[in-house]
C-alpha cells in the first residue's frame, strides 16, 4: 500500500513531519511518498532526521519516495550519501 503524505513539508517542518510520518511506517507496506517541493534548504536537524528516517524505513522495508526535491537539497543528500536510500519523483 502506498501512503502519500499530503501535507507539504517546508524548511522548518522537515524534522517534525518526519517524526509524525514514522508512525505510518508500519502501515505503509510498500511505499511512502513525501512531498518535498517546498523544502528549499536543509539544516542540520533536518539532515539528521532524514538519515534516521531512512534507517527506520529500511528496517520497515518501506520505500520512501521524495517528491519534488530541489537540486540544492538533492546535492546535500548526495554529499551525505543519503540519495541511494530514497527514491525521487517530480
Amino acid at each position: 500500500m502506498t501512503i502519500a503524505v499530503l501535507r507539504k513539508v517546508d524548511n522548518e517542518s522537515v524534522a517534525s513531519i518526519l517524526r509524525e510520518v514514522e508512525k505510518s511506517l508500519k502501515r505503509a507496506q510498500g511505499e511512502l511518498v513525501i512531498d518535498f517541493s517546498s523544502v528549499a534548504r536543509l539544516d542540520g536537524v533536518a539532515l539528521s532526521s532524514l538519515a534516521e528516517f531512512a534507517s527506520k524505513a529500511d528496517t520497515a522495508s518501506v520505500k520512501v519516495i521524495l517528491r519534488g526535491v530541489n537540486v540544492d537539497v538533492f546535492k546535500v543528500l548526495v554529499l551525505m550519501k543519503l540519495n541511494s536510500r530514497f527514491s525521487f519523483v517530480n
Binding site: 536543509l42 539544516d43 542540520g44 539528521s48 546535500v76 554529499l79 551525505m80
Partner: protein
C-alpha cells in the same frame, strides 16, 4: 629549553603508522561525519550568508588576538608575544581585507570576452595540520579561508600547541555558528597521536590535506594519496647589493629576522653582501643592536645551534631570543642584543650556519662580485630553500631581474623584510597567507601564497565561442575580355614577366607588353612549363635582383603563378626558409611558423591566368617541387596572394579541349569542396555556389565550342570566383585523393579530381563514421549543402537524399559530356598494380592537408574504399550507392 618538543614536529612521519584502536577510530569517524554533514549543509549557503559569518569570525579573532598570542607563547615557549599578536591580526584583518570582496559562491569570475565563467565548488572536509611556530595565527587564517569557501576543517595541532590551537578554533567556531554556520564546521583533535593523523590523512571522506609544518609532516601528507597542500621548510638567501639603501636594508633585515624570534620560515637566513659595502653593513648591524660574531664565536655557533649529525638546526634554539641562545652556548653578548650575525665563508655541510635557522642567528657572506653573490645565493637556495622565499636589496633593476631569474623561489621580496614581506599585504601586494607554496622544488603543487582559491574546486564553464573567420583575396581583380589593359595603371620602373615557353610563342607576352607604361623596363623570365622547381625559382630571384624589379607579372597557369609567388617571397625576404615555412598546421591562424613580415624590397605581383581552373591568381597557396630531394613543398599564407589579378579570357580562347575539361572540373571540385568545407562561411558559400552554377552552365559550351567567347569568359570568371571560395574555405578529401593518385600515376590534376568527385559527394553526404571537430560549423550539414546546390541547379528532388542523388547524377552527366574516363581502370592501370599501391595512396591522401577541412573525418579505410570505387568507376556501382543513399 624545548628541544624534544620541537624535534617532534620535525621528525614525525606518520605514514605507515599502526591504525588507532576501535574506540579511537569511532571517535575520528564521528569527527569526519560531523564535518562532512557541516560541509554538505554549508554547500547551500549564499555568498551573503558566508560573508556575514566571515566578518563575525574576523571580529572575534581581532578581539582575541592578544589572548590567543599569550596562550601560544605560554604553551609553546616560542617567539615573542607582541609579534604573535601582530601575526594574529594579520591573519584576521589583513586576510579579511583580501577576501572580503572576493566571490567564492556560485559564479566567482566572468570573462565575457572569452565566453568563460568560473564557478566555485567547495572541497568538503579538509584535514589541517598546524605548526608549532605560528599556531593560533594559522588557525585563524585557515578558519577564515574555510568558511569563505564553505568547507569544514578538522585541525590537528602540534602536540605542544594543543591548548592554544583548540582555543583559537573555539573562538572561530563560536563566532561562525552563532552567525549561522552549520554545527561541526570545525573540530580540533585533542590528545591525538601520529596514528590519528595517519588515519585521517587516509580517510575516504577527507577531501584535502593542508599541512603546514616540518618536512616529515609535509612528506606524510603527500604520501597519503590525498590531494595535499604541503608547505614547509625554507632557507631564504638575501642579496644585499651595493646600490641598496644600506640603512633601510639593515633595519628591514633586523625587523624580519627578529620577528617572533625568527620563527617564520620566510625569514632571512644568509645575507650575501657586496664587498664594497660589507664592512659598513656589519657596522650598521652592530649599531642597531646585533652582535657580529668573531670567527671563534661563529665556529661555536656552528657546533651548537646546528646538529652536526643531521646538519639541521637544533630545536633548542628555535624561536628563542638571541641572548637566550648566546647564554645557552656560553657566548658573551650585550644584554639587549637582538641578533647574532655570523660571517661564513661558504655554503653547504662544511658551513653549518648556511642552513635554515628559525631563530635570530643570521649568516653573512662577503661577495667580491655580483656573479659570486648570485652563485652563493643560488647555493643557499638549493640548500633546503628551493621554491620558498628569497630577498634582494638593490636599486639596480638589472641585478634584481637576474636574481629573480636564477633563484627558484615562490616569493622574491625586493627591498623589504623577508618574513613579513612574504606574508603578503603588509609591504607588498602579495596575497596574505600563513602557508607558503614552494612549487615542485619544495615538493608542492603550488608556488603561490596559499589562499582561498586553493580551498576551492574552480569549475570553468566554457561556452562555445563564435570562431573568427576571414575572407581574404587580392584587393584588385580585373575581369572580362581585354581586362589586361589595366596593367597600364600600375607604375613600374622595372617589371619581370614570368611565363612559360608555350605562352611566349603564342604571343601572349606581347599582349601584356603592349599595355605596360612607357617608362617601364620589362624583362622576360621564361620558366619550364611544369610545376615550379626550386632551382628555377632561385634563378628567377637572381633575375629580380639583377633588374631590381618593382613589379612581377605572372602570365600563365597555376605553375607559373605559383613560381612567381615564391620568387616574390624570396626576393622580398631572402632569409625565408621554404622548408620551414612549409611546416604543417591545423589552423592557419595558429600556425607555428610565421611568414616573414620584414621585407628588404617591395614588388607588386600581378597574376594573369591563362587557364580557367587553378585560381592561383587569388589564392594564398603555392606548390614547389624540390627535385634534388624528390619532394614537393606546399606553402600556404595570405602574404603569397597576388596583389592584383587580371582575369582576361583572351588568354584562354585557344585552350585545347582536354585542358578546358580538366581545368573546368578542377574549378568545380574547388567549389563543391568549399561549399561543404568545415571552414565554409556565407562569404565562401556565395562564391562557391555562383561558381558551381556557372560551371554547370558554361563548361559544356566552352568544351564543345571553344571559340564561344561568353562561355570562355564565364568559365574564366568561374575559376577565379571558385578560387576565392577555396582560398578561404579550403578544399577537402577529393583533392587529397586526387593529389595522391595523380602524383603516383602521372594523371592530370583535373582528371584525377573528376575520377573521385561523384564518390566523394556520396561519401560526404552520408553519416560520418567520425565527425570532424570544427568550431566553425554547427551540426553536420554537408548533405544539406549539397541539396542546396542541387536546388540552385534546379535538379529537382523532394528530399535531401534525392537532391544529393540528383547532384551526383548531374555531376556524372557533366563528366560524361566532357568525355572523362569513367574509372581509373579506364586509364589502363592494371587492377593488381592498383591494389598493390592502395595502402601507399590512402596513406598519402590521409597525410594531405587538404583533407583537414573535409566535413567528414576520413578514415584510412574509407580512403581505401573511395579509391576502390574510383577504380571500379561510375555506373552500376554508382547507381547502387545512390540508391543506398536515398534509402538511408
Amino acid at each position: 629549553m624545548i628541544a624534544s618538543e620541537v624535534q617532534q614536529e620535525r621528525t614525525q612521519v606518520p605514514s605507515g603508522a599502526q591504525p588507532p584502536n576501535d574506540e579511537r577510530t569511532a571517535y575520528l569517524d564521528r569527527l569526519v561525519d560531523q564535518a562532512r554533514a557541516a560541509a554538505a549543509l554549508f554547500s547551500q549557503f549564499t555568498q551573503h550568508e558566508v560573508d556575514r559569518i566571515v566578518t563575525s569570525m574576523v571580529l572575534a579573532g581581532l578581539d582575541q588576538a592578544f589572548r590567543l598570542a599569550s596562550l601560544a607563547v605560554e604553551e609553546t615557549k616560542l617567539g615573542v608575544l607582541e609579534d604573535k599578536v601582530i601575526k594574529n591580526m594579520v591573519a584576521t584583518e589583513f586576510v579579511y581585507n583580501y577576501v572580503k570582496d572576493k566571490r567564492t559562491v556560485g559564479i566567482i569570475r566572468e570573462f565575457p570576452e572569452r565566453n568563460l565563467v568560473e564557478v566555485a565548488e567547495p572541497i568538503g572536509v579538509i584535514f589541517s595540520l598546524l605548526p608549532i611556530t605560528n599556531p593560533t595565527s594559522t588557525v585563524l587564517f585557515k578558519c577564515i579561508m574555510a568558511v569563505k569557501t564553505r568547507n569544514a576543517v578538522i585541525f590537528s595541532p602540534h602536540p605542544k600547541a594543543q591548548t592554544c590551537c583548540a582555543e583559537a578554533v573555539k573562538v572561530m567556531y563560536d563566532a561562525a555558528v552563532a552567525n549561522g554556520a552549520p554545527d561541526g564546521i570545525f573540530s580540533c583533535l585533542q590528545s591525538h597521536t601520529l596514528r590519528d593523523n595517519d588515519y585521517l590523512m587516509r580517510h575516504q571522506d577527507v577531501a584535502l590535506i593542508d599541512a603546514t609544518g616540518g618536512p616529515g609532516l609535509v612528506k606524510a601528507a603527500h604520501s597519503s594519496g590525498k590531494p595535499a597542500l604541503g608547505v614547509g621548510a625554507g632557507n631564504t638567501p638575501v642579496y644585499l647589493e651595493k646600490s641598496a639603501d644600506l640603512s633601510a636594508a639593515i633595519v628591514d633585515i633586523i625587523i624580519s629576522k627578529t620577528f617572533d624570534n625568527g620563527t617564520i620560515c620566510a625569514s632571512e637566513q644568509t645575507v650575501v653582501i657586496d664587498d664594497e659595502i660589507y664592512d659598513a653593513a656589519l657596522a650598521k648591524f652592530a649599531d642597531l643592536g646585533a652582535h657580529v660574531c668573531s670567527a671563534s664565536e661563529t665556529e661555536l655557533l656552528s657546533r651548537t645551534v646546528i646538529n652536526p649529525s643531521t646538519g639541521f638546526m637544533q630545536p633548542m634554539a628555535i624561536g628563542q631570543k638571541a641572548t637566550t641562545i648566546a647564554r645557552f652556548i656560553g657566548m658573551s653578548v650585550k644584554p639587549k642584543t637582538k641578533l647574532l650575525v655570523a660571517p661564513i665563508q661558504g655554503v653547504g655541510p662544511e658551513h653549518p650556519l648556511s642552513v635554515e635557522k628559525l631563530f635570530p642567528v643570521l649568516a653573512v657572506y662577503r661577495a667580491r662580485s655580483v656573479q659570486e653573490a648570485l652563485r652563493v645565493c643560488v647555493s643557499v637556495n638549493h640548500t633546503g630553500g628551493l621554491g620558498h622565499t628569497a630577498v634582494i636589496f638593490s636599486r639596480n633593476d638589472e641585478v634584481i631581474r637576474k636574481f629573480s631569474e636564477v633563484i627558484n623561489a615562490g616569493r622574491i621580496i625586493v627591498n623589504s623584510p623577508g618574513s613579513v614581506g612574504a606574508l603578503g599585504a603588509v609591504y607588498n601586494d602579495l596575497v596574505p597567507t600563513f602557508s607558503f607554496g614552494c612549487g615542485t622544488g619544495g615538493g608542492n603543487s603550488t608556488s603561490d601564497n596559499v589562499n582561498i582559491y586553493h580551498y576551492l574546486n574552480i569549475k570553468r564553464v566554457a561556452r562555445r565561442t563564435q570562431a573568427h573567420m576571414w575572407f581574404r583575396i587580392p584587393n584588385q581583380i580585373y575581369f572580362n575580355m581585354n581586362a589586361v589593359e589595366n596593367v597600364r595603371q600600375f607604375s613600374s620602373r622595372s617589371t619581370i614577366i614570368v611565363t612559360n615557353p608555350v605562352l611566349e610563342r603564342m604571343g601572349h607576352v606581347d599582349v601584356v607588353r603592349r599595355y605596360l607604361s612607357a617608362e617601364t623596363h620589362a624583362h622576360l623570365l621564361v620558366i619550364p612549363d611544369a610545376e615550379p622547381e626550386s632551382r628555377a625559382v632561385l634563378e628567377g630571384v637572381e633575375k629580380l635582383n639583377f633588374y631590381n624589379a618593382d613589379q612581377i607579372i605572372a602570365l600563365g597557369g597555376g605553375s607559373v603563378i605559383d613560381a612567381a609567388k615564391i620568387m616574390k617571397l624570396k626576393y622580398q625576404s631572402p632569409d625565408a626558409d621554404l622548408e620551414q615555412l612549409a611546416a604543417p598546421f591545423l589552423d592557419l591562424r595558429k600556425r607555428v611558423v610565421d611568414f616573414p613580415i620584414n621585407k628588404i624590397k617591395q614588388a607588386r605581383l600581378i597574376a594573369i591566368p591563362t587557364t580557367s581552373g587553378t585560381g592561383s591568381e587569388v589564392t594564398p597557396f603555392a606548390v614547389l617541387t624540390d627535385k634534388d630531394r624528390g619532394r614537393k613543398i606546399t606553402l600556404a599564407d595570405y602574404s603569397l596572394t597576388p596583389d592584383v589579378a587580371i582575369v582576361d579570357p583572351q588568354f584562354v580562347m585557344s585552350m585545347p579541349k582536354g585542358l578546358t575539361a580538366d581545368t573546368g572540373i578542377d574549378c568545380l571540385t574547388h567549389a563543391l569542396e568549399a561549399v561543404v568545407s568545415n571552414y565554409a562561411s556565407p562569404y565562401t558559400d556565395a562564391n562557391a555556389m555562383q561558381a558551381i552554377r556557372m560551371v554547370f552552365k558554361y563548361l559544356p559550351i566552352a568544351y564543345e565550342d571553344p571559340k564561344n567567347e561568353e562561355a570562355r569568359c564565364m568559365m574564366h570568371n568561374a575559376a577565379c570566383i571558385s578560387a576565392m571560395a577555396f582560398a578561404n574555405a579550403s578544399v577537402g578529401v577529393n583533392h587529397a585523393l586526387a593529389h595522391a593518385f595523380g602524383a603516383r600515376f602521372g594523371v592530370a590534376h583535373g582528371r584525377a579530381n573528376a575520377l573521385m568527385l561523384p564518390h566523394v559527394i556520396a561519401y560526404n553526404a552520408g553519416v560520418p563514421t567520425k565527425f570532424m571537430p570544427s568550431p566553425y560549423t554547427q551540426g553536420y550539414v554537408a548533405h544539406k549543402k549539397y541539396a542546396a546546390v542541387a536546388d540552385l541547379l534546379e535538379l529537382g528532388g523532394g528530399t535531401v537524399e534525392e537532391k544529393v542523388a540528383n547532384l551526383i547524377a548531374a555531376t556524372e552527366q557533366l563528366l560524361q559530356t566532357l568525355e572523362f574516363p569513367r574509372s581509373i581502370a579506364d586509364l589502363g592501370i592494371p587492377k593488381d598494380e592498383f591494389g598493390r599501391v592502395l595502402p601507399e595512396l590512402s596513406k598519402a591522401a590521409y597525410d594531405d592537408p587538404s583533407g583537414r577541412s573535409n566535413p567528414r573525418m576520413p578514415l584510412i579505410s574509407e580512403l581505401v574504399d573511395l579509391l576502390r570505387k574510383a577504380y571500379e568507376g561510375r555506373g552500376a556501382a554508382q547507381q547502387k550507392e545512390i540508391a543506398q543513399l536515398i534509402t538511408a
